[in-house]
């Protein structure tokens, strides 16, 4: 068991003929991900990295039965790529592209709901179910199979923490980089619920950042709904205030999204918060009675 993806997940790559798309398609394939096709309009019939290329997501889904898609197209076209995958019936869409306009993400949101599509990202490193399926740009070799789930708003900080977990003997089930954009697909609470229901996951590491109130919501969810232990880390504790969006930003989050508020919320939910990333493995072991 795992969450979201496993060895049976069939993945297509939108933007497979681009530099990043081709490079990461080969990396994912090398990891063992079942890459069944790629999309590049006008280049249908070609082959890239031993993968057949289709003109549309619809064609690819019909021909291959793909149920997940990863997007590497440039930011101005990423919103449309998400819509295309959603309307083609792809159940899980992972958008790696950075710099997608917020209005584009707002426009796709009701469509995702209507078509029952799960979105990870945009501006995210993707996700991995260890030894089964890697979707995105994560470095596969740092992961090790085990019982810890991990969710993060960050990229390289995630790798840093995964590396520490692996080195201390704590393997992982599924690790998900949800991305750092203000409006994005699945949030912490969506994933916490999945981890709670996954028999294989015994503990969850949550890596948050300053800004917004996703961490506070996660803390509330953990307190009310979760039986499994969670350990957290918040990046940006030293960041100075001032990089925010006027009055309305503070109002909408009913708080200012500071690290202190997030840490307080986690502490109240019984979630230990690491002072530095290297403390995380110890905290997880403590919670698991190891």
């Amino acid at each position: 068991m795992s969450i979201l993806i496993n060895k049976d997940t069939k993945v297509i790559v939108q933007g497979i003929t681009g530099r990043d798309g081709a490079f990461h398609a080969s990396k994912m394939k090398a990891y063992g991900t079942n890459i069944v096709g790629g999309i590049s309009p006008g280049k249908g019939g070609m082959e890239v990295e031993g993968v057949p290329v289709f003109n549309t997501v619809e064609d690819a889904v019909k021909a291959t039965g793909a149920n997940a898609s990863v997007i590497f197209v440039p930011a101005p076209f990423a919103g449309d790529a998400i819509l295309e995958a959603s309307f083609a019936g792809v159940g899980l869409v992972v958008c790696i592209t950075e710099g997608v306009p917020v209005q584009d993400m707002i426009k796709v949101t009701p469509v995702l709901k209507q078509n029952n599509t799960k979105l990870i990202g945009a501006n995210c490193p993707g996700l991995i179910t260890v030894d089964e399926c890697l979707i995105g740009i994560l470095p596969g070799m740092i992961f090790k199979k085990g019982n810890v789930g991990l969710i993060s708003r960050s990229g390289t900080l995630t790798y840093e923490v995964v590396n520490m977990l692996t080195e201390s003997g704590l393997g992982q089930t599924t690790c998900v980089g949800i991305g750092g954009d203000s409006v994005s697909g699945l949030y912490f609470i969506d994933l916490l619920e999945m981890y709670e229901n996954d028999p294989e996951t015994k503990a969850v590491v949550l890596i948050g950042e300053i800004g917004g109130d996703a961490e506070e919501q996660a803390a509330r969810f953990i307190k009310e709904k979760m039986t499994k232990p969670v350990v957290a880390f918040i990046a940006g504790q030293s960041a100075p205030p001032g990089k925010r969006m006027g009055h309305a930003g503070a109002i909408i989050s009913s708080g200012s999204g500071t690290a202190a508020e997030k840490i307080k919320a986690f502490n109240e939910a019984g979630v230990p918060v690491a002072k530095e990333p290297s403390e995380i493995p110890g905290l997880v072991k403590g919670k698991l009675g190891m």
């Binding site: 409006v183 030293s238 009055h247």
Partner: protein, 377 residues
Amino acid sequence: MKIHEYQARILFKKYGIPVPEGFVCHSVDEVKQKVSDDDKLRVIKAQVHVGGRGKAGGVKLANTKAETIEKAEQILGMDIKGLTVDKILVADAVDIEKEFYVGLINDRNSKSVTLMVSAEGGVEIEEVAKVSPEKIIKMPIDPTMGLMDWQARKIALKLFSDPKEVRQAAAILVKLYQLYVDTDASLAEINPLVLTPDKRVLAIDGKMNFDDNALYRQPEILAMREVSDDEKKEIEANAKGLSYIKLDGNIGCMVNGAGLAMATMDMIKLYGGEPANFLDIGGSSNPEKVVEAMNILLSDKNVEAVMINIFGGITRCDDVARGLVVALDKIKTDIPIVIRLSGTNAKEGLEIIRETGLPTVETMSEAAKTAIELSKK
């Protein structure tokens, strides 16, 4: 990206949102030329990208032309929170019967543009939000339908009761939403929206921010950009695929990834140091990018030690190391540097660095401690 109030007024006018008469001036001479001779109450407002300008003395009233000139002289050149006022808005002051707050923002929770209004307008809206959040009415807007007229009326009815006032306010809400989506805004505020004794509804102050990621399709907005010296460095860095924010400390840091960069700053602070900057070099290992990053980092004269923290995932550490060697050879700085590489090909990377004689460490904590020690030498 932020714009000034006078620029927001230009956009408001274009969309038919009523504002009092006014104009921007860059000098006292310009004020003398543009202000008419008649006596009327005018307001002179500093145009700076910072809040709280009223409290700082950047907003003044004047009854006559002579007084307007005098007040303009006081405000132009004034320092508000470290920013020099180089332009002012001179506008007709209007009598106010009631003040309201209107705001639009991208809300991460409802994943929509959200309209917020309050009958408690004026400068203390954040205080209202904290103390009595129930006084702020919020409504998420469906992106496929936009703000529908009936919704705008429903919200306007929470603020006004007279049908004529409701109609004016509802029209303003619809126009503001249209402006917001047309320009890829990330914030639009009218604070205050006022009702005058003669029952006109007017936007007295406007504030708009825009989504940096959408500026490529907003040439008209981009043309309004004015940048401060600090921002210049940040924008220059952005153009090179780097993300840089200057801070006040003395330990420069160069990191790949925003989250790791923040964690690195936290670590420096945790061990008693002060970070000089946030600098994310992103996912590439291109030596040119590293050279650019080092140049930007070292142009800050407060930097006394540099901590380079790279986790090599797809960016291989040996590539990063080669870039560093090239960069440091070009820059030839006396400022001590400590390098920490981890992840893909870390061994090979560290080997390359060691040949140059620079200190290398294995963990983030060690790197932070070493950088702090080096800065004290």
